[in-house]
């Protein structure tokens, strides 16, 4: 296994072991999206259209994004609390790979939240989800998970520089969740928000998930209208393709930022105490 992948896997494995050892961390991440979905389903109960799916995806995305954002930032803080940050920083592996492993593991927990919410919605609340293509639905969820993790890595670089980055990411949690169109179509949002939505990988991922579930694209209609389709195979893969490109760009930006902030932190002593 190439060394970067080995480090990512090892950090992922350690994070999973910690999650299993600390089950109380899971509780707020399961309960909060669950309650959110319950409220959304109750609100949309009388509405017509695919609102059930919006509510479910909204709750699930909230869990996934919230987890990733929190954990990417928390990865550095966690090491500080354990007193292991210096040992990790002094190791020859890239700190970005360590945080990537943690980020993926936490996004995966968010994904399990989404699956739990889907099952609860389908079997407890009897929401007709009508997923047309379960394979593409699952695939688009996993790829969205990776895109969310990559976005989390960009925010993680801020934590290498300063611990007050927590305030910054806390403030970003809800706006990004709304702007990505997880809860309702971005067409409902002011026009000036749209460009922000288009540079977010999860926006395209959520749209692909929705298409895989048999719905029409509701967020990126301007784009899909160019190819004359708002649903179907082509629309799905276009969404996925754009999301992957954006995700690659996130990874590139994260690598660049980490190199910069790591050098800066070694110069200023912001990462390890002197």
């Amino acid at each position: 296994m190439p060394q970067p992948l080995r480090v990512i896997y090892s950090a992922f494995r350690l994070a999973m072991l910690h999650w299993m050892a600390d089950p109380q961390w899971v509780i707020p991440n399961v309960i909060a999206p669950f309650v959110f979905t319950f409220v959304a389903l109750t609100l949309f109960k009388e509405a017509s259209g695919p609102f059930g799916l919006y509510a479910v995806l909204g709750g699930g995305m909230m869990g996934m994004w919230g987890n990733t954002l929190y954990s990417s930032g928390f990865a550095i803080e966690f090491e500080k609390w354990q007193g292991t940050l210096e040992e990790v920083v002094a190791a020859p592996s890239n700190l970005l790979h360590v945080i990537a492993g943690r980020s993926v593991s936490n996004a995966l927990f968010g994904l399990t939240n989404m699956v739990a919410i889907l099952l609860i919605a389908a079997f407890v609340f009897r929401v007709p989800l009508g997923i047309v293509n379960p394979f593409l639905f699952g695939l688009s969820m996993i790829l969205t998970l990776l895109s969310v993790s990559a976005l989390g890595l960009i925010f993680a670089s801020a934590f290498v520089l300063t611990r007050s980055a927590q305030v910054f990411t806390n403030g970003l949690e809800f706006p990004i969740y709304v702007v990505s169109g997880s809860m309702f179509p971005i067409a409902l949002l002011p026009f000036w928000v749209h460009p922000v939505a288009y540079i977010l990988g999860p926006t395209w991922g959520v749209d692909a998930i929705r298409i895989a579930a048999g719905q029409e694209s509701a967020s990126l209609t301007f784009w899909l209208d160019l190819v004359g389709q708002r649903n179907g195979f082509l629309a799905f893969w276009l969404d996925i393709g754009v999301m992957l490109l954006i995700t690659l760009a996130y990874v590139g930006i994260a690598i660049f930022l980490f190199k910069k902030v790591e050098t800066k932190s070694r110069r200023d002593g912001t990462l390890v105490e002197a």
Binding site: S10, A11, T84, E86, P92, S93, R266, A274
Partner: protein, 340 residues
């Protein structure tokens, strides 16, 4: 554990530090933010031979940890140059990191919710230990540290001594040629500290080079081939423990055990011309005052006069130890640089 021969870059020293300096920019104030500079390390130069156990001692804030962090590539020096195992700590960061081990003191620094094996496995992966030798090495190291039986238990259930042994095992996971140990016995009870010192000694016997920082002079005396004393970011003395003791050979130490000794009285001793250095520590329920003087018993009457309002339990005249040499050097009684 079988230390394997490693390639070295061209250097006959394991560590070479040349005029290392580290200055931090600090911002003070909330509304009116002012930037100031803090000099953590002013000018540190020394060399460590292969296979040597070198000690770096000094008071809190003297610059020991900052020096170690520059040598282990965690911090970039503001100026100066250093090579570790022949590699430049600024330009060849990865090569340095791959070849060194780091052991930090204290109970923290381990993932306590997982087992010793999981801790070791994680760091083996971070250090790129080949998968085919990783498990074997973990087993050997845990055996060497006497942790095999509890290897699968969560670290949070370990005693302090076991945690410290795990720290040591973790620091050796990449079979490093050189190990940096920052106060490895801090906070340990005497028995466990002794056990840790024995482990360190064994590592040197196995051919490892060790740079150790410590607060305990007897520890440096017992373990180190050479000791560098650092004060205010500068090395003020560097010699063998015996060589350092020579700086106080012309003196004797009047040691007073008592109670109720005030700071004012301690300060009065500093004004006595025959007193070269004085230190007061609290040990169990008594105060211990150590007065270095070339006059020996001749100043006893003066000691009794200064301490007439305090209770004196015992008064002895002793041969100076490394700690006395350290105190005198740190207090600056020996002219800077003269002890090198």
């Amino acid at each position: 554990m079988n230390p394997q021969p490693r390639e070295k870059a061209s250097s006959d020293k394991a560590i070479v530090a040349e005029h290392l300096c580290k200055v931090f920019n600090v911002t003070k104030g909330t509304l009116r933010r002012r930037k100031t500079q803090v000099v953590a390390v002013k000018d540190v130069s020394f060399g460590v031979d292969y296979g040597e156990l070198f000690g770096l001692v000094g008071p809190n804030g003297a610059g020991k940890t900052t020096t170690i962090k520059m040598l282990t590539t965690m911090l970039i020096p503001t100026s100066g140059k250093a090579t570790v195992l022949g590699y430049d700590v600024q330009k060849e960061v990865k090569k340095v990191r791959e070849r060194i081990g780091i052991v930090l003191g204290g109970e923290r620094g381990l993932y306590t919710r997982v087992s010793a094996i999981d801790n070791m496995r994680y760091f083996a992966d971070l250090y790129g230990v080949p998968a085919n030798i990783r498990d074997k090495r973990i087993k050997e190291l845990l055996e060497f540290m006497g942790l095999s039986e509890r290897a699968k238990d969560r670290v949070e259930t370990y005693s302090k001594g076991m945690k410290q042994r795990l720290h040591l095992a973790r620091g050796l996971i990449n079979d490093p040629q050189l190990v940096f140990m920052d106060e490895p016995t801090i906070g340990l009870d005497p028995e466990i500290a002794k056990e840790t010192r024995n482990m360190i000694r064994e590592l040197v016997e196995k051919g490892k080079t060790i740079l150790l920082t410590t607060h305990y002079m007897f520890e440096a005396d017992e373990l180190c081939k050479r000791v560098g004393i650092i004060r205010n970011g500068e090395i003020v003395a560097l010699d063998t423990p015996l060589g350092l003791k020579k700086y106080v050979m012309d003196t004797s130490v009047v040691e007073v055990e008592g109670f109720g000794i005030t700071e004012k009285e301690v300060a009065r001793f500093k004004e006595v011309p025959e007193v070269l250095a004085v230190s007061a520590t609290l040990s169990e329920n008594k105060q211990v005052l150590k007065i270095q003087t070339p006059k020996g018993s001749e100043i006893i009457s003066e000691v009794q006069e200064i301490l007439k309002n305090s209770r004196i339990y015992d008064l002895k005249i002793k041969e100076p130890t490394l700690e006395d040499a350290y105190l005198r050097l740190v207090e600056g009684s020996v002219k800077e640089g003269s002890a090198r």
